[in-house]
């Protein structure tokens, strides 16, 4: 396009009298738009970090500890240095000023025991996979070959792996700390003034009500994003550019500056296309710091890409909790109190938000229910295992699992349908906004409607009838129906709330919108998508707001030089917080352009109204489109006093509250009582996530979340052996579900708009994962309950199911007895995945 200044003036003048034109605007919010992101991804033109090739780029391979806990006696790198095309071999000793720190940004108590986590071990390793040296070579293959030649002499130290074992402090994960106990955090409704005294409620229930006591295990999982982590660092002159497969480019940039002393302004972090994260890329990693340090040392671009086996052992894990739960209720099933005692294994180091993840459960164990009394206790411990941090749901799936399993147990005890017990205790739709016993204000919801719809889609009564028939005919394949009525807190987060919890950052999000002279719109977001489709959804929001075509909106993200301000993507926060920031930036753009439009129309700004991309003088057909205003401001030959040329605006939104999506999930599982094999027959979920921007994307988020949650219930577990070696160290042993393991789902939505943002959205990224795990286990237990089984430890593999059935049979049904306690000294550990501990005392 070639336009002379004069022509611009003419255009600007012409538009004033122009007929209203179709600006292309139409309701975009709610439109199942196909994604803008797809084109490059389906044609192989994606920019993954590992695709980046720079002139003279060197490759890094890590030398990692095979031991869980050991002193480093010596490192002999001579053979590696002599290997072909090796440029350098480095150890921590080569960096006397350090390489930065993998910081813990959320110390949950002032006295939290937090071991220093340096990117490269200095004289001791505290978990297998810890980096002890790094080899730099001209190719990745040569670097890996030479890494094998680095001779590290270790002196093994006693190591502790299991959280319960760690509590005894007999073996210390970090001897210099004197204890494995990291922090203790408590919320008590009586002390907080949000409810009654839970111990009194339990004592009363022991006299004349029901007390359900259960111990559940949240096994350790691996986020297992499909794109292995990769980092490229290019130290050009004084500016350092880091590309990294990260969810958090902004936080990474800040923590690089804060822990290395490199001025923040000299660091540019780019998260190009990122292949999944699920919390697993919410970290500042040793690998990023080492790559940065080596690139600076050699003044050359350096790339590090992990192998999958490195990823499984060294990228942070998730979950790993023991839960001891005590639920008090009246004889007819009205819950009077819940006491939660958590023991959370944080691994060898307190990760960026690792200590806080289990604490997020504090506000979720009470779930959708009106519990009069509540107490949450969380003890975190350190062990010589891979560090543990956020994995999809982060604290909320663990809590939801605990309470939704308990509610089924209560229903069984009372002898009513699990949905009946939930309805008896849940918050009714008239009661919103509702202040929970944990002190949270739930914005909106309608559990009744979601549940009614889910039952209808599931054909609940027919499946219950079939279940009855199979029980009566003693069918070897029994049918179980699992219920999960969940809520979660999304939209991390009100900065004030985070501050009160000693979190190291705020929870706001930023957006900038600039209208280009040709009417195209650039949107810069501080969120950092890695599969969520922000480019599409954010375009829809802006297209609606500004009344411009969807195709004319370009969303820019993930580069700190472009999106200079942001807090990135995790915790289902992007739309709820980042989306609202976009709305506010758009409104500022509209307001800013209005002054110009008024000038062009020779009208008073107060007389203008804006709709569908067009300013019109009220009561007339005089008007001008916002894109024409953009062009006129580009020339700016003629503009009013007090107005700056250009139509652009920034906004930062800090929410007042979280949002609370909810949903009802129903799962039918067939359990072969002869083989222990379980087969999913049907899965229905009705999620209420408030207003929906793009139903197609929402559906995809739910599907993916469901399978991750189902995988926890049925297949996945990170297992260490007695030496602290990760047995599930490849995809051969860490069994992600395949297409052949899963079914197609029935998903629908109900809508209770959130009141915490003007879009009325709630967040959907984690819903499926949070809800599905208890739905599946509840279904399996429901199938087997007549045999006297009331728990199967996850993952509910055929072996565990079969063993539970066998031991139930051996005890002639008396296996109802107690679940083998996880809290006693010789409890089954991760090292013994075959021990269910369930069914009956072994």
């Amino acid at each position: 396009m070639s336009v002379s200044p004069d022509a611009l003036v003419e255009i600007a003048e012409d538009v004033v009298a122009a007929e209203p034109q179709d600006s292309g605007a139409r309701p975009e919010i709610g439109n199942p738009r196909l994604r803008k992101e797809d084109r490059r991804l389906i044609t192989g033109r994606t920019k993954w970090t590992d695709n980046i090739v720079l002139p003279g780029m060197l490759h890094l391979a890590m030398v990692r500890s095979p031991h869980a806990h050991a002193k480093i006696v010596s490192i002999d790198a001579s053979a590696a240095k002599d290997a072909p095309n090796v440029v350098d071999v480095v150890t921590a000793a080569d960096f006397p000023d350090g390489m930065g720190v993998c910081a813990n940004a959320w110390p949950i108590t002032p006295d939290q025991v937090t071991p220093d986590h340096l990117p490269m071990a200095v004289d001791r390793v505290a978990c297998a996979g810890e980096i002890v040296a790094a080899v730099v070579a001209r190719s990745a293959a040569e670097a890996r070959d030479a890494a094998e030649l680095v001779d590290v002499e270790y002196e093994e130290l006693p190591a502790v792996f299991d959280a319960q074992e760690a509590m005894t402090d007999q073996i210390l994960a970090h001897p210099d700390k004197g204890t494995n106990k990291c922090a203790f955090w408590k919320l008590d409704s009586a002390e907080a003034g949000t409810g009654g005294n839970v111990d009194e409620a339990i004592a009363k229930a022991r006299e004349d009500g029901i007390v359900i006591e259960r111990e559940y295990r949240q096994q350790r999982l691996v986020p297992a994003f499909m794109e292995p982590r990769s980092t490229v660092v290019d130290p050009t002159g004084e500016q350092i550019t880091m590309w990294s497969a990260t969810q958090i480019p902004h936080i990474l940039r800040f923590l690089i500056a804060a822990t290395t002393g490199i001025p923040e302004s000299k660091v540019r972090v780019i998260a190009p296309d990122v292949g999944g994260g699920f919390g697993g890329k919410l970290q500042t990693t040793p690998e990023e710091f080492v790559t940065l340090a080596v690139a600076r040392r050699l003044a050359k671009p350096v790339k590090y890409t992990e192998t999958r086996s490195e990823s499984l052992v060294s990228a942070h894990h998730g979950r790993d909790q023991y839960q001891k739960l005590t639920l008090a209720a009246t004889k007819d099933g009205a819950v009077t109190g819940l006491k939660v005692e958590l023991l959370a294994n944080l691994g060898a180091y307190v990760a960026i938000v690792g200590g806080g993840v289990p604490v997020l459960g504090a506000w979720m164990f009470n779930a959708i229910y009106k519990f009069p009394a509540y107490q949450f206790n969380c003890q975190t411990v350190l062990t010589n295992t891979t560090w543990v941090d956020a994995y999809r749901g982060a604290g909320r799936p663990e809590a939801t699992y605990g309470i939704e399993r308990l509610m089924d147990e209560l229903a069984a005890e009372v002898g009513v349908d699990p949905l009946v017990i939930r309805e008896k205790n849940w918050i009714t739709h008239e009661e919103f906004p509702f202040t929970s016993v944990a002190g949270m204000v739930y914005d909106s919801g309608n559990y009744e409607v979601a549940t009614a719809r889910a039952k209808e889609l599931f054909d609940y009564d027919a499946l219950r009838a079939e279940q009855k028939q199979r029980r009566e005919s003693q069918d070897p394949v029994q049918l179980g129906i699992g219920v999960s009525t969940f809520t979660e807190m999304c939209g991390l987060a009100p900065s004030r709330v985070l501050g009160s919890l000693s979190y190291g950052a705020g929870g706001w999000e930023s957006a900038s919108i600039r209208m280009l002279p040709t009417g195209k719109v650039e949107v810069i977001t501080g969120t950092s998508p890695h599969g969520q489709g922000h480019e599409t959804a954010w375009s829809q929001i802006v297209a609606d707001r500004l009344g411009v075509p969807f195709e004319d909106v370009e969303v820019l993200h993930g580069d700190t030089q472009v999106a200079y301000k942001g807090l990135d993507t995790y915790g289902s926060r992007s739309l709820v917080v980042g989306g609202e920031a976009i709305v506010r930036a758009a409104d500022k753009v509209i307001e800013k352009a209005k002054g110009f439009a008024a000038h062009l129309l020779e009208a008073n700004a107060d007389d203008l109204e804006f709709a569908s991309g067009r300013y019109t003088v009220k009561g007339t057909d005089q008007g001008v489109g916002i894109t024409d205003v953009a062009l006129a401001t580009f020339a700016s030959h003629n503009y009013p006093e007090g107005i700056e040329p250009g139509i652009d605006a920034d906004a930062t939104f800090d929410p007042d509250n979280f949002s609370f999506p909810h949903g009802t999930h129903l799962c039918a599982m067939e359990v072969d009582t002869e083989t222990g094999e379980t087969t999913m027959r049907k899965y229905v979920c009705v999620d209420d996530i408030g207003h929906i921007i793009n139903p197609l994307i929402v559906e995809g988020q739910v599907h993916g979340g469901l399978v991750q949650g189902i995988a926890q219930a049925l297949w996945e577990e990170a297992v260490f052996d007695d030496n602290g070696t990760l047995v599930t160290g490849s995809f051969v042993d860490y069994t992600l579900p395949t297409a052949a393991d899963t079914i197609s789902f029935v998903t629908e939505n109900t809508t209770s708009p959130s009141t915490t943002n003007t879009l009325g959205t709630k967040g959907v990224g984690e819903a499926g994962t949070i809800a599905s795990t208890p739905a599946v286990v509840n279904a399996i237990v429901d199938a087997l309950r007549p045999l006297g089984i009331h728990d199967i430890r996850m993952p509910c593999t055929p072996e565990r199911v079969w063993k539970a059935i066998q031991s139930a049979g051996a005890h002639d049904g008396a296996a109802t007895a107690e679940v083998a306690p996880h809290f006693h000294d010789d409890a089954p550990t991760n090292a013994d995945p075959g021990t269910t501990g369930e069914g009956s005392p072994q």
């Binding site: 196909l34 994604r35 992101e37 797809d38 084109r39 490059r40 991804l41 389906i42 044609t43 192989g44 033109r45 994606t46 993954w48 590992d50 695709n51 090739v53 190719s139 293959a141 297992a224 994003f225 499909m226 794109e227 292995p228 296309d273 990122v274 292949g275 999944g276 699920f278 192998t307 999958r308 086996s309 890695h530 599969g531 969520q532 489709g533 197609l696 994307i697 559906e699 995809g700 988020q701 599907h703 993916g704 979340g705 469901l706 399978v707 991750q708 490849s730 995809f731 051969v732 992600l736 395949t738 297409a739 052949a740 899963t742 197609s744 789902f745 499926g768």
Partner: protein, 157 residues
């Protein structure tokens, strides 16, 4: 070093490679065909799936020298001047990808399924995709995309 002659996405390449070089490394590092990606070290994930003489293989499980004299098609070679391959289009329309990392391999495998069986059942589609892992979609929409492509009768081209 061994000299190989390979046709990749319709173009003939002559290169000297180390005998141990994997086909996926050759494609990515020698030819810049970075559309094909690596997801694991154990041939479990299928992210690197390409076609060797028209049949799907995991290119991390094939040596470059084994491709000598053969024809390789990657995700970068299936769209035509006329536009996307029908399977690419189906993945787009069915929202069968999120992060997109597994997508190239998934699409190449999906095409192979329909080459074998132009009218597969859902169960057959799922069985055919078993060697390709996706962590984002829960497979629901991938299965839907393959079925849609099959229904249109043009998936295995």
């Amino acid at each position: 070093m061994t000299r190989i002659t390979v046709t990749v996405d319709g173009q003939r390449f002559v290169d000297d490679v180390e005998p141990r070089t994997l086909l996926v490394s050759y494609l990515r590092e020698n030819l810049g065909k970075v559309g094909t990606v690596v997801g694991c070290d154990t041939s479990n994930c299928g992210a690197c799936t390409v076609h060797l003489d028209g049949r799907s293989v995991k290119s991390c499980n094939v040596l470059a020298v084994q491709a000598d004299g053969h024809e390789v098609t990657t995700i970068e070679g299936i769209s035509t001047a006329g536009g996307l391959h029908p399977m690419q289009q189906a993945f787009h329309e069915c929202h069968a990808l999120q992060c997109g990392y597994c997508t190239p391999g998934m699409i190449m495998q999906a095409i192979d399924i329909l080459t074998d069986n132009p009218d597969p059942s859902e169960e057959e589609i799922r069985a055919g995709l078993e060697g390709n892992l996706c962590r984002c979609t829960g497979y629901h929409n991938i299965v839907k995309a393959v079925a849609q492509c099959a229904a249109a009768g043009k998936g295995g081209e």
